[in-house]
Amino acid sequence: MIAWQHRDTADMRGYHDIGGLAGGAVERGEHDYALWEKRVDALLVLLSEAGLVRVDELRRGIETLGADAYDKLSYYERWISAITRVLIEKGVIGIDELGRNMETLKARWNDPATGEAKP
């Protein structure tokens, strides 16, 4: 008890470190995970097995997003942000090619002629 009471000053906590803080009612709603969310999960599982993005690196990525982004992003939005950042830091992917690929995907999605080949 003493330990968390002592730590209860907000400035000593990371924004993810919320155990014991006050909060509102637990909202019981649930959603079925979308395919893209399952793929983010799968990427982490596979990259972790490959030793490229370990769970602690994922956590560091999430815990350094900044409090604002942490609150605004959905769960798997945080994950893909963190995974991408670690991959860029390690030089596994480049930020330029990432940007190009995102633009290509966006164009492909918006083009009725190629809409079948979406991500």
Binding site: H16, D17, I18, G19, G20, L21, A22, G23, G24, A25, V26, E27, R28, G29, E30, H31, D32, A34, L35, W36, K38, R39, V40, D41, A42, L43, V45, L46, L47, S48, A50, L52, V55, D56, R59, L73, S74, Y75, Y76, E77, I80, S81, I83, T84, L87, V92, I93, E97, L98, N101, M102, T104, L105, K106, W109, P112, G115, A117, K118, P119
Partner: protein, 210 residues
């Protein structure tokens, strides 16, 4: 290029959960990262698809099967409480890189699990966690006022029962072993498993009664 041609065209089949009318930046990021990793030979589309399917195949039925076995087999229960990871492997369920600790509900103690820092969950036994498990109100409050949180789930624990909350980590996951409901002596293992809900394995609810 994506191999997944299983979905119909978005204009022919308007937005379902997997078919948003517009991709968000984060969905684009996922697609772009995935394609780059495949282009570079680091991952394959098949491996990603298999990982998605493997996760989809994990449901609370697996956790229920473990608990039902423990209810009918005292020796198995002892092994489960001694080493949860090894006892699950006996039933062909791998915990992957994580270690499982099973915490037993008794007449004196009711257990609840949480991950205050993030979302660690016995996903190999229960599948992906429900949204509320990852929510700030659950993570912050259940360690401080568990009875109030359980009340919101419609679960009342008597004042003379200790409520013990277990905070999971990336490496160590908890599973609650609920008490076998009274009046179930005649039920077989499969019928018992049907009483064991996901929420009873998290500890926010009790098993169904027959």
């Amino acid at each position: 290029m994506s191999e997944d041609h299983s979905h119909s065209h978005p204009h022919a089949d308007p937005a379902g959960p997997d078919e948003p009318a517009m991709l968000t930046d984060y969905q684009l990021m996922e697609g772009a990262v995935r394609e780059l990793l495949v282009e570079k030979g680091i991952l394959t589309h098949a491996a990603i698809r298999e990982a998605v399917e493997a996760m989809d195949a994990r449901t609370p039925a697996q956790g229920a099967r473990v608990v039902a076995r423990a209810w009918v087999d005292p020796a198995y229960k002892a092994r489960l409480l001694e080493n949860g990871t090894a006892a699950c492997e006996e039933l062909g369920i791998s915990m992957g890189p994580t270690h499982l600790v099973v915490v037993e509900n008794t007449p004196e103690v009711h257990n609840v699990i949480v991950c205050t820092l993030c979302s660690c969950y016995p996903r190999m036994l229960l599948g992906l966690p429900p949204d509320w498990y990852k929510s700030k109100p659950y993570r912050s409050r259940v360690v401080r006022e568990p009875r109030a949180v359980l009340h919101e789930f419609g679960t009342e624990i008597a004042d003379n029962v200790t409520v013990r909350v277990h905070d999971s980590t990336a490496d160590m996951r908890y599973l609650v072993l609920p008490r076998r409901p009274a009046g179930t002596d005649v039920l077989d293992e499969a019928a018992l498993a049907a009483l064991i809900t996901r929420d009873s394995l998290i500890g926010v609810a009790l098993p169904r009664t027959p």
